[in-house]
Protein backbone atom coordinates (compact mmCIF):
# COMPACT_ATOMS: atom_id res chain seq x y z
CA UNK A 1 0.00 0.00 0.00
CA UNK A 2 3.01 2.33 0.32
CA UNK A 3 2.96 2.88 -3.43
CA UNK A 4 -0.67 3.95 -3.19
CA UNK A 5 -0.21 6.30 -0.26
CA UNK A 6 2.80 7.86 -2.00
CA UNK A 7 0.65 8.28 -5.11
CA UNK A 8 -2.06 9.98 -3.01
CA UNK A 9 0.51 12.31 -1.42
CA UNK A 10 1.80 13.24 -4.88
CA UNK A 11 -1.81 13.86 -6.00
CA UNK A 12 -2.28 16.44 -3.24
CA UNK A 13 -4.07 14.34 -0.61
CA UNK A 14 -3.15 14.74 3.08
CA UNK A 15 -3.15 11.84 5.52
CA UNK A 16 -5.46 11.96 8.53
CA UNK A 17 -6.38 9.49 11.26
CA UNK A 18 -9.98 9.02 12.34
CA UNK A 19 -10.96 8.07 15.92
CA UNK A 20 -10.85 4.40 16.88
CA UNK A 21 -13.85 4.63 19.22
CA UNK A 22 -17.12 6.39 18.38
CA UNK A 23 -20.39 7.09 20.14
CA UNK A 24 -22.57 4.33 18.68
CA UNK A 25 -25.79 6.31 19.13
CA UNK A 26 -24.42 9.15 16.99
CA UNK A 27 -23.22 6.87 14.20
CA UNK A 28 -26.35 4.69 14.03
CA UNK A 29 -28.44 6.98 11.77
CA UNK A 30 -25.84 6.63 9.00
CA UNK A 31 -25.78 2.83 8.99
CA UNK A 32 -28.11 0.07 7.81
CA UNK A 33 -29.65 -2.11 10.51
CA UNK A 34 -27.33 -4.97 9.44
CA UNK A 35 -24.24 -2.76 9.77
CA UNK A 36 -25.39 -1.51 13.18
CA UNK A 37 -25.71 -5.12 14.35
CA UNK A 38 -22.19 -5.88 13.14
CA UNK A 39 -20.63 -2.99 15.07
CA UNK A 40 -18.21 -4.03 17.82
CA UNK A 41 -19.90 -2.38 20.81
CA UNK A 42 -18.41 -1.29 24.10
CA UNK A 43 -19.84 0.37 27.16
CA UNK A 44 -18.35 3.74 28.19
CA UNK A 45 -17.51 4.77 31.74
CA UNK A 46 -20.73 6.76 31.94
CA UNK A 47 -22.81 3.91 30.56
CA UNK A 48 -22.92 5.28 27.02
CA UNK A 49 -22.85 2.88 24.07
CA UNK A 50 -19.58 3.10 22.16
CA UNK A 51 -18.36 1.23 19.10
CA UNK A 52 -15.03 0.43 17.50
CA UNK A 53 -14.58 2.24 14.17
CA UNK A 54 -16.47 0.26 11.51
CA UNK A 55 -16.63 2.94 8.83
CA UNK A 56 -13.89 5.54 8.48
CA UNK A 57 -16.12 8.00 6.58
CA UNK A 58 -18.62 8.11 9.43
CA UNK A 59 -15.76 8.35 11.95
CA UNK A 60 -14.33 11.26 9.97
CA UNK A 61 -17.62 13.18 9.95
CA UNK A 62 -18.45 12.50 13.62
CA UNK A 63 -15.03 13.42 14.97
CA UNK A 64 -15.40 16.99 13.80
CA UNK A 65 -12.39 17.12 11.47
CA UNK A 66 -14.66 18.76 8.91
CA UNK A 67 -16.71 20.77 11.40
CA UNK A 68 -15.09 24.13 10.86
CA UNK A 69 -13.96 23.85 7.28
CA UNK A 70 -13.58 26.94 5.18
CA UNK A 71 -16.74 27.15 3.03
CA UNK A 72 -14.71 28.23 0.03
CA UNK A 73 -12.23 25.36 0.16
CA UNK A 74 -12.27 21.65 -0.56
CA UNK A 75 -10.37 19.10 1.54
CA UNK A 76 -8.53 16.25 -0.14
CA UNK A 77 -7.62 13.67 2.50
CA UNK A 78 -6.82 9.98 2.88
CA UNK A 79 -6.52 7.53 5.72
CA UNK A 80 -4.74 4.18 6.10
CA UNK A 81 -6.23 2.38 9.09
CA UNK A 82 -8.23 -0.68 10.22
CA UNK A 83 -12.01 -0.96 10.59
CA UNK A 84 -13.64 -3.56 12.82
CA UNK A 85 -16.87 -5.54 12.64
CA UNK A 86 -18.43 -8.71 14.01
CA UNK A 87 -18.31 -11.55 11.51
CA UNK A 88 -21.25 -13.66 12.72
CA UNK A 89 -20.62 -16.42 10.16
CA UNK A 90 -17.01 -16.93 11.28
CA UNK A 91 -17.79 -15.93 14.89
CA UNK A 92 -14.87 -13.53 15.16
CA UNK A 93 -14.23 -9.80 15.42
CA UNK A 94 -12.82 -9.05 11.99
CA UNK A 95 -10.18 -6.39 11.35
CA UNK A 96 -10.12 -4.96 7.85
CA UNK A 97 -7.23 -2.70 6.98
CA UNK A 98 -8.03 -0.15 4.29
CA UNK A 99 -6.87 2.96 2.51
CA UNK A 100 -9.66 5.48 1.99
CA UNK A 101 -9.81 8.70 0.02
CA UNK A 102 -12.25 11.57 0.55
CA UNK A 103 -12.89 14.94 -1.04
CA UNK A 104 -15.09 16.92 1.33
CA UNK A 105 -16.56 20.39 1.43
CA UNK A 106 -19.77 22.06 2.51
CA UNK A 107 -20.55 23.18 -1.01
CA UNK A 108 -23.08 21.36 -3.13
CA UNK A 109 -20.63 20.42 -5.87
CA UNK A 110 -18.83 17.14 -5.42
CA UNK A 111 -16.31 15.86 -7.91
CA UNK A 112 -17.43 12.34 -8.64
CA UNK A 113 -15.40 12.04 -11.83
CA UNK A 114 -12.15 13.15 -10.12
CA UNK A 115 -12.64 10.56 -7.39
CA UNK A 116 -13.61 7.86 -9.89
CA UNK A 117 -10.48 8.62 -11.93
CA UNK A 118 -8.31 8.33 -8.83
CA UNK A 119 -9.98 5.02 -7.92
CA UNK A 120 -9.42 3.62 -11.42
CA UNK A 121 -5.75 4.67 -11.31
CA UNK A 122 -5.28 2.91 -7.95
CA UNK A 123 -7.18 -0.17 -9.12
CA UNK A 124 -4.92 -0.43 -12.16
CA UNK A 125 -1.83 -0.12 -9.93
CA UNK A 126 -3.12 -2.98 -7.76
CA UNK A 127 -4.67 -5.29 -10.39
CA UNK A 128 -3.31 -4.25 -13.76
CA UNK A 129 -5.60 -3.42 -16.66
CA UNK A 130 -8.14 -6.20 -16.02
CA UNK A 131 -10.73 -4.22 -14.12
CA UNK A 132 -14.46 -3.71 -14.50
CA UNK A 133 -16.00 -0.44 -13.31
CA UNK A 134 -19.72 -0.14 -12.54
CA UNK A 135 -21.47 3.11 -11.76
CA UNK A 136 -24.95 3.87 -10.51
CA UNK A 137 -26.99 6.61 -8.86
CA UNK A 138 -28.67 5.49 -5.64
CA UNK A 139 -31.07 8.43 -5.31
CA UNK A 140 -32.26 8.37 -8.90
CA UNK A 141 -32.88 4.64 -8.74
CA UNK A 142 -34.97 5.07 -5.58
CA UNK A 143 -36.96 7.87 -7.23
CA UNK A 144 -37.66 5.66 -10.24
CA UNK A 145 -38.71 2.72 -8.08
CA UNK A 146 -40.96 4.97 -6.02
CA UNK A 147 -42.72 6.18 -9.17
CA UNK A 148 -43.10 2.64 -10.48
CA UNK A 149 -44.52 1.65 -7.07
CA UNK A 150 -47.07 4.51 -7.24
CA UNK A 151 -45.76 5.87 -3.90
CA UNK A 152 -46.92 2.66 -2.18
CA UNK A 153 -44.32 2.14 0.60
CA UNK A 154 -44.81 -1.61 0.86
CA UNK A 155 -44.57 -2.13 -2.90
CA UNK A 156 -41.51 0.15 -2.97
CA UNK A 157 -39.69 -1.92 -0.34
CA UNK A 158 -40.57 -5.18 -2.10
CA UNK A 159 -39.46 -3.83 -5.50
CA UNK A 160 -36.18 -2.54 -4.09
CA UNK A 161 -35.52 -5.87 -2.37
CA UNK A 162 -36.11 -7.93 -5.50
CA UNK A 163 -34.31 -5.56 -7.87
CA UNK A 164 -31.28 -5.58 -5.60
CA UNK A 165 -31.36 -9.37 -5.87
CA UNK A 166 -31.98 -9.23 -9.62
CA UNK A 167 -35.09 -11.35 -9.13
CA UNK A 168 -37.06 -10.13 -12.15
CA UNK A 169 -39.85 -12.63 -11.67
CA UNK A 170 -40.72 -11.53 -8.14
CA UNK A 171 -40.19 -7.84 -9.01
CA UNK A 172 -42.71 -8.11 -11.84
CA UNK A 173 -45.22 -9.79 -9.52
CA UNK A 174 -45.26 -6.54 -7.53
CA UNK A 175 -46.47 -4.69 -10.64
CA UNK A 176 -49.47 -6.82 -11.53
CA UNK A 177 -51.93 -3.99 -11.06
CA UNK A 178 -49.82 -1.35 -12.81
CA UNK A 179 -51.61 0.42 -15.67
CA UNK A 180 -48.32 0.78 -17.52
CA UNK A 181 -47.30 -2.80 -16.90
CA UNK A 182 -45.90 -3.63 -20.35
CA UNK A 183 -43.54 -0.68 -20.59
CA UNK A 184 -42.36 -0.99 -17.00
CA UNK A 185 -41.90 -4.72 -17.52
CA UNK A 186 -39.66 -4.12 -20.52
CA UNK A 187 -37.72 -1.49 -18.58
CA UNK A 188 -37.10 -3.81 -15.67
CA UNK A 189 -36.26 -6.87 -17.75
CA UNK A 190 -34.06 -5.09 -20.24
CA UNK A 191 -32.36 -2.55 -18.09
CA UNK A 192 -32.57 -2.94 -14.35
CA UNK A 193 -31.48 -6.54 -14.16
CA UNK A 194 -28.36 -6.70 -16.31
CA UNK A 195 -25.34 -4.41 -16.14
CA UNK A 196 -24.54 -2.96 -19.55
CA UNK A 197 -21.97 -0.62 -21.06
CA UNK A 198 -22.73 3.09 -20.72
CA UNK A 199 -23.24 3.48 -24.48
CA UNK A 200 -25.66 0.57 -24.64
CA UNK A 201 -27.58 1.82 -21.59
CA UNK A 202 -28.05 5.27 -23.07
CA UNK A 203 -29.18 3.78 -26.40
CA UNK A 204 -31.69 1.46 -24.69
CA UNK A 205 -32.94 4.08 -22.26
CA UNK A 206 -33.54 6.52 -25.11
CA UNK A 207 -35.53 3.85 -27.00
CA UNK A 208 -37.54 2.92 -23.92
CA UNK A 209 -38.10 6.56 -23.12
CA UNK A 210 -39.75 7.07 -26.51
CA UNK A 211 -42.23 4.29 -25.71
CA UNK A 212 -42.65 5.57 -22.15
CA UNK A 213 -43.40 9.10 -23.34
CA UNK A 214 -46.31 7.76 -25.40
CA UNK A 215 -47.66 6.16 -22.24
CA UNK A 216 -46.84 9.31 -20.24
CA UNK A 217 -44.31 7.56 -18.01
CA UNK A 218 -41.47 9.86 -17.11
CA UNK A 219 -39.84 7.45 -14.68
CA UNK A 220 -36.60 6.90 -16.52
CA UNK A 221 -35.92 10.44 -17.76
CA UNK A 222 -33.80 11.51 -14.73
CA UNK A 223 -31.53 8.46 -15.10
CA UNK A 224 -31.18 9.08 -18.85
CA UNK A 225 -30.24 12.73 -18.23
CA UNK A 226 -27.67 11.80 -15.59
CA UNK A 227 -26.17 8.99 -17.68
CA UNK A 228 -25.81 11.23 -20.72
CA UNK A 229 -23.98 13.88 -18.69
CA UNK A 230 -21.77 11.50 -16.77
CA UNK A 231 -20.88 9.53 -19.90
CA UNK A 232 -19.32 12.53 -21.61
CA UNK A 233 -17.38 13.51 -18.45
CA UNK A 234 -16.11 9.97 -17.92
CA UNK A 235 -15.14 9.59 -21.58
CA UNK A 236 -13.11 12.78 -21.32
CA UNK A 237 -11.38 11.58 -18.15
CA UNK A 238 -10.65 8.08 -19.53
CA UNK A 239 -9.31 9.28 -22.87
CA UNK A 240 -6.88 11.62 -21.14
CA UNK A 241 -5.36 9.35 -18.54
CA UNK A 242 -6.18 5.69 -19.03
CA UNK A 243 -6.18 2.82 -21.47
CA UNK A 244 -9.31 0.83 -22.24
CA UNK A 245 -11.52 0.44 -19.16
CA UNK A 246 -14.71 -1.65 -19.10
CA UNK A 247 -17.30 0.79 -17.79
CA UNK A 248 -20.82 -0.47 -17.03
CA UNK A 249 -23.99 0.99 -15.60
CA UNK A 250 -25.97 -1.13 -13.14
CA UNK A 251 -28.90 0.80 -11.63
CA UNK A 252 -29.26 -1.80 -8.90
CA UNK A 253 -25.64 -1.64 -7.80
CA UNK A 254 -25.75 -2.37 -4.08
CA UNK A 255 -23.63 -0.30 -1.77
CA UNK A 256 -24.44 -0.93 1.82
CA UNK A 257 -24.00 2.67 3.03
CA UNK A 258 -27.19 4.71 3.41
CA UNK A 259 -25.28 8.01 3.46
CA UNK A 260 -24.40 7.59 -0.22
CA UNK A 261 -26.96 9.93 -1.70
CA UNK A 262 -25.74 10.29 -5.26
CA UNK A 263 -23.43 8.60 -7.71
CA UNK A 264 -21.83 5.34 -6.58
CA UNK A 265 -19.29 2.97 -8.08
CA UNK A 266 -17.64 -0.39 -7.60
CA UNK A 267 -14.45 -1.64 -9.23
CA UNK A 268 -13.85 -5.35 -9.74
CA UNK A 269 -10.63 -7.26 -10.42
CA UNK A 270 -11.84 -9.53 -13.23
CA UNK A 271 -8.82 -11.81 -12.94
CA UNK A 272 -9.12 -12.55 -9.21
CA UNK A 273 -12.95 -12.19 -9.22
CA UNK A 274 -13.13 -9.75 -6.32
CA UNK A 275 -14.61 -6.32 -5.66
CA UNK A 276 -11.62 -4.20 -4.75
CA UNK A 277 -12.97 -0.63 -4.48
CA UNK A 278 -16.33 0.79 -3.42
CA UNK A 279 -17.15 4.48 -3.39
CA UNK A 280 -19.60 7.26 -4.03
CA UNK A 281 -20.89 10.72 -3.22
CA UNK A 282 -22.59 11.50 0.08
CA UNK A 283 -24.21 14.23 2.09
CA UNK A 284 -24.47 14.43 5.88
CA UNK A 285 -27.26 16.97 6.41
CA UNK A 286 -26.76 17.19 10.18
CA UNK A 287 -23.15 18.21 9.70
CA UNK A 288 -23.70 20.20 6.47
CA UNK A 289 -21.00 18.20 4.72
CA UNK A 290 -20.86 16.96 1.13
CA UNK A 291 -18.23 14.54 -0.02
CA UNK A 292 -17.12 11.88 -2.36
CA UNK A 293 -14.82 9.03 -1.47
CA UNK A 294 -13.85 5.40 -1.76
CA UNK A 295 -11.88 2.77 0.08
CA UNK A 296 -9.71 -0.16 -0.88
CA UNK A 297 -9.16 -3.03 1.53
CA UNK A 298 -5.87 -4.88 1.90
CA UNK A 299 -4.34 -7.61 4.07
Amino acid sequence: MTEITQFLERSGYNQIQTPLILNHTHSMPFMTVETQQKQVKLQGLNGEMLALRGDSTIALILCGVVKNIDPSSTHRIYYDEPNFYQDFDKRVIAEVRQVGVEIISNQNETDFVEVLGLAIAIAQKVCGPQILVEISHATLLKQVINRIADDDAKKYEALLYYLNRKNTREALKQLNDSSSFDTVKIMIEELLTTPKSLDECIYRLASLNTIASIELIESFQPILNWLTNIQSEIKGMLSEDFGTVSMHFDPALIIDKPYYTGETFKIYDTKRHVNIITGGTYRFDTYDVNGCGFSIKYD
Binding site: D89, L132, E134, Y162, R165, K166, N167, R169, E170, P195, H248, I254, Y268, D269, T270, H273, V274, N275
Partner: protein, 209 residues
Protein backbone atom coordinates in the same frame (compact mmCIF):
# COMPACT_ATOMS: atom_id res chain seq x y z
CA UNK B 1 -11.66 -20.98 -10.94
CA UNK B 2 -10.93 -19.45 -14.33
CA UNK B 3 -13.23 -17.00 -16.07
CA UNK B 4 -14.72 -19.82 -18.20
CA UNK B 5 -15.29 -22.28 -15.40
CA UNK B 6 -17.79 -22.05 -12.56
CA UNK B 7 -18.42 -23.97 -9.35
CA UNK B 8 -22.00 -25.03 -8.68
CA UNK B 9 -23.43 -26.24 -5.37
CA UNK B 10 -26.69 -28.20 -5.20
CA UNK B 11 -28.58 -29.02 -2.01
CA UNK B 12 -28.27 -32.69 -1.12
CA UNK B 13 -31.45 -34.76 -0.99
CA UNK B 14 -34.74 -34.04 -2.71
CA UNK B 15 -33.56 -31.02 -4.73
CA UNK B 16 -30.48 -32.83 -6.10
CA UNK B 17 -32.60 -35.88 -6.95
CA UNK B 18 -35.31 -33.87 -8.73
CA UNK B 19 -32.66 -31.80 -10.53
CA UNK B 20 -31.00 -34.91 -12.01
CA UNK B 21 -32.07 -34.02 -15.59
CA UNK B 22 -30.56 -30.55 -15.17
CA UNK B 23 -27.37 -32.07 -13.73
CA UNK B 24 -27.19 -34.51 -16.65
CA UNK B 25 -27.79 -31.76 -19.23
CA UNK B 26 -24.94 -29.81 -17.63
CA UNK B 27 -22.63 -32.64 -18.63
CA UNK B 28 -22.24 -34.60 -15.39
CA UNK B 29 -22.26 -38.37 -15.06
CA UNK B 30 -25.31 -39.09 -12.86
CA UNK B 31 -23.85 -42.35 -11.61
CA UNK B 32 -20.76 -40.49 -10.41
CA UNK B 33 -22.88 -37.72 -8.84
CA UNK B 34 -25.25 -39.96 -6.90
CA UNK B 35 -23.32 -43.17 -6.32
CA UNK B 36 -19.69 -42.18 -5.81
CA UNK B 37 -18.15 -40.73 -2.66
CA UNK B 38 -16.46 -37.90 -4.54
CA UNK B 39 -17.08 -34.46 -3.03
CA UNK B 40 -16.08 -32.47 -6.13
CA UNK B 41 -17.11 -33.50 -9.62
CA UNK B 42 -16.19 -32.17 -13.04
CA UNK B 43 -18.48 -32.21 -16.06
CA UNK B 44 -17.31 -33.69 -19.36
CA UNK B 45 -16.29 -30.35 -20.87
CA UNK B 46 -14.51 -29.20 -17.70
CA UNK B 47 -16.67 -26.06 -17.68
CA UNK B 48 -18.51 -26.81 -14.40
CA UNK B 49 -17.49 -28.20 -11.03
CA UNK B 50 -20.29 -29.62 -8.90
CA UNK B 51 -20.42 -30.03 -5.15
CA UNK B 52 -23.31 -31.37 -3.09
CA UNK B 53 -23.81 -29.41 0.14
CA UNK B 54 -26.20 -29.19 3.06
CA UNK B 55 -28.97 -26.81 1.94
CA UNK B 56 -28.63 -24.35 4.81
CA UNK B 57 -24.92 -23.80 4.02
CA UNK B 58 -25.35 -22.94 0.35
CA UNK B 59 -26.35 -19.22 0.60
CA UNK B 60 -23.23 -18.50 2.67
CA UNK B 61 -20.97 -20.37 0.22
CA UNK B 62 -22.48 -18.35 -2.64
CA UNK B 63 -22.35 -14.99 -0.85
CA UNK B 64 -18.68 -15.51 0.01
CA UNK B 65 -17.84 -16.61 -3.54
CA UNK B 66 -16.60 -20.08 -2.51
CA UNK B 67 -19.10 -21.30 -5.10
CA UNK B 68 -20.41 -19.22 -7.98
CA UNK B 69 -23.91 -20.68 -8.33
CA UNK B 70 -26.16 -22.49 -5.85
CA UNK B 71 -29.40 -24.41 -6.23
CA UNK B 72 -31.35 -24.42 -2.98
CA UNK B 73 -34.89 -23.95 -1.66
CA UNK B 74 -36.38 -20.46 -1.61
CA UNK B 75 -37.10 -20.94 2.12
CA UNK B 76 -33.37 -21.37 2.83
CA UNK B 77 -32.45 -18.31 0.76
CA UNK B 78 -34.99 -16.04 2.47
CA UNK B 79 -34.22 -17.39 5.93
CA UNK B 80 -30.45 -16.94 5.54
CA UNK B 81 -30.78 -13.35 4.25
CA UNK B 82 -27.37 -13.55 2.58
CA UNK B 83 -26.70 -11.20 -0.31
CA UNK B 84 -27.05 -13.29 -3.46
CA UNK B 85 -28.75 -12.81 -6.81
CA UNK B 86 -31.87 -14.92 -7.40
CA UNK B 87 -31.80 -15.50 -11.13
CA UNK B 88 -34.18 -18.39 -11.74
CA UNK B 89 -36.82 -20.45 -9.96
CA UNK B 90 -36.96 -24.14 -10.88
CA UNK B 91 -40.23 -25.92 -11.51
CA UNK B 92 -39.55 -28.94 -9.28
CA UNK B 93 -39.34 -30.08 -5.62
CA UNK B 94 -42.48 -28.08 -4.89
CA UNK B 95 -43.77 -27.59 -1.34
CA UNK B 96 -45.66 -24.98 0.70
CA UNK B 97 -44.85 -23.13 3.89
CA UNK B 98 -47.87 -23.54 6.14
CA UNK B 99 -49.26 -22.64 9.53
CA UNK B 100 -50.46 -25.85 11.18
CA UNK B 101 -51.75 -26.83 14.60
CA UNK B 102 -53.86 -29.30 16.57
CA UNK B 103 -57.38 -30.22 15.43
CA UNK B 104 -58.78 -28.08 18.24
CA UNK B 105 -56.55 -25.03 18.00
CA UNK B 106 -55.81 -22.18 20.37
CA UNK B 107 -57.14 -18.86 19.03
CA UNK B 108 -54.57 -17.26 16.69
CA UNK B 109 -53.92 -13.96 18.44
CA UNK B 110 -51.14 -11.90 20.06
CA UNK B 111 -48.93 -13.96 22.38
CA UNK B 112 -49.54 -17.24 20.57
CA UNK B 113 -46.51 -19.59 20.56
CA UNK B 114 -45.27 -20.76 17.17
CA UNK B 115 -42.49 -23.32 16.70
CA UNK B 116 -40.55 -23.33 13.46
CA UNK B 117 -37.29 -23.98 11.63
CA UNK B 118 -37.91 -20.73 9.77
CA UNK B 119 -38.07 -17.91 12.37
CA UNK B 120 -37.64 -15.07 9.87
CA UNK B 121 -40.34 -16.37 7.52
CA UNK B 122 -42.69 -17.24 10.39
CA UNK B 123 -42.28 -13.76 11.85
CA UNK B 124 -43.04 -12.17 8.47
CA UNK B 125 -46.06 -14.46 7.97
CA UNK B 126 -47.59 -13.60 11.34
CA UNK B 127 -46.72 -9.88 11.21
CA UNK B 128 -48.52 -9.66 7.84
CA UNK B 129 -51.61 -10.96 9.65
CA UNK B 130 -51.20 -8.46 12.48
CA UNK B 131 -50.23 -11.06 15.07
CA UNK B 132 -47.39 -10.60 17.55
CA UNK B 133 -46.35 -14.19 18.21
CA UNK B 134 -43.67 -15.76 20.35
CA UNK B 135 -41.45 -17.54 17.83
CA UNK B 136 -39.68 -20.68 19.06
CA UNK B 137 -36.77 -21.56 16.80
CA UNK B 138 -36.18 -25.32 16.50
CA UNK B 139 -33.88 -27.37 14.29
CA UNK B 140 -36.11 -30.36 13.47
CA UNK B 141 -39.12 -32.59 14.33
CA UNK B 142 -41.28 -29.47 14.49
CA UNK B 143 -44.53 -31.49 14.45
CA UNK B 144 -43.97 -32.66 18.01
CA UNK B 145 -43.94 -29.13 19.48
CA UNK B 146 -47.73 -28.52 19.70
CA UNK B 147 -48.38 -32.14 20.74
CA UNK B 148 -46.38 -31.76 23.96
CA UNK B 149 -47.44 -28.15 24.61
CA UNK B 150 -44.17 -26.46 23.65
CA UNK B 151 -46.08 -24.35 21.14
CA UNK B 152 -49.65 -23.63 20.00
CA UNK B 153 -48.85 -23.79 16.28
CA UNK B 154 -46.03 -24.62 13.90
CA UNK B 155 -44.85 -22.97 10.69
CA UNK B 156 -43.28 -25.64 8.49
CA UNK B 157 -42.85 -26.89 4.94
CA UNK B 158 -45.55 -29.25 3.75
CA UNK B 159 -45.19 -31.53 0.71
CA UNK B 160 -48.01 -34.08 0.89
CA UNK B 161 -49.35 -33.36 4.38
CA UNK B 162 -48.92 -37.02 5.41
CA UNK B 163 -46.57 -36.23 8.33
CA UNK B 164 -48.98 -33.62 9.69
CA UNK B 165 -51.97 -35.97 9.41
CA UNK B 166 -50.10 -38.83 11.08
CA UNK B 167 -49.37 -36.51 14.00
CA UNK B 168 -52.92 -35.19 14.30
CA UNK B 169 -52.14 -31.73 12.93
CA UNK B 170 -54.15 -29.63 10.49
CA UNK B 171 -53.07 -26.91 8.05
CA UNK B 172 -54.78 -23.61 8.93
CA UNK B 173 -53.11 -21.25 6.48
CA UNK B 174 -50.63 -21.35 3.63
CA UNK B 175 -47.98 -18.71 3.25
CA UNK B 176 -45.45 -19.29 0.52
CA UNK B 177 -44.96 -21.67 -2.39
CA UNK B 178 -41.41 -23.00 -2.17
CA UNK B 179 -39.35 -24.16 -5.12
CA UNK B 180 -35.57 -24.26 -5.63
CA UNK B 181 -33.90 -20.98 -6.57
CA UNK B 182 -30.78 -20.67 -8.67
CA UNK B 183 -28.68 -18.15 -6.73
CA UNK B 184 -25.52 -16.47 -7.97
CA UNK B 185 -22.63 -14.67 -6.31
CA UNK B 186 -22.86 -10.96 -7.32
CA UNK B 187 -19.18 -10.79 -8.28
CA UNK B 188 -19.23 -14.02 -10.30
CA UNK B 189 -22.31 -12.62 -12.06
CA UNK B 190 -20.05 -9.85 -13.37
CA UNK B 191 -16.58 -11.35 -13.70
CA UNK B 192 -17.68 -14.80 -14.97
CA UNK B 193 -20.69 -13.42 -16.83
CA UNK B 194 -20.58 -15.69 -19.88
CA UNK B 195 -20.17 -18.95 -17.95
CA UNK B 196 -22.83 -17.99 -15.40
CA UNK B 197 -25.34 -16.96 -18.06
CA UNK B 198 -24.73 -20.15 -20.06
CA UNK B 199 -25.57 -22.20 -16.97
CA UNK B 200 -28.61 -20.02 -16.20
CA UNK B 201 -29.87 -20.72 -19.75
CA UNK B 202 -29.79 -24.45 -18.99
CA UNK B 203 -31.62 -23.81 -15.68
CA UNK B 204 -34.27 -21.71 -17.39
CA UNK B 205 -35.33 -24.76 -19.40
CA UNK B 206 -36.37 -26.23 -16.03
CA UNK B 207 -37.62 -22.91 -14.72
CA UNK B 208 -41.06 -21.70 -13.70
CA UNK B 209 -42.69 -19.97 -16.65
Amino acid sequence: MTRNRIRIAIAKGRIATEASDLIKESGFDLDEVFNSRKLRLQNKLGSYELILLKASDIPLYVQEGAVDVGIVGKDTVIESNHLVYELCELDMAYCTLCLAGPIEPVKLENGVKVATKYPRLAQQFLTDRGIKAEILSLSGSIEIAPLINLSDYIVDLVQTGDTLRENGLVVYDTFLKIRPLVIVNPISYRTKAVAVRNFIKICERYGVT
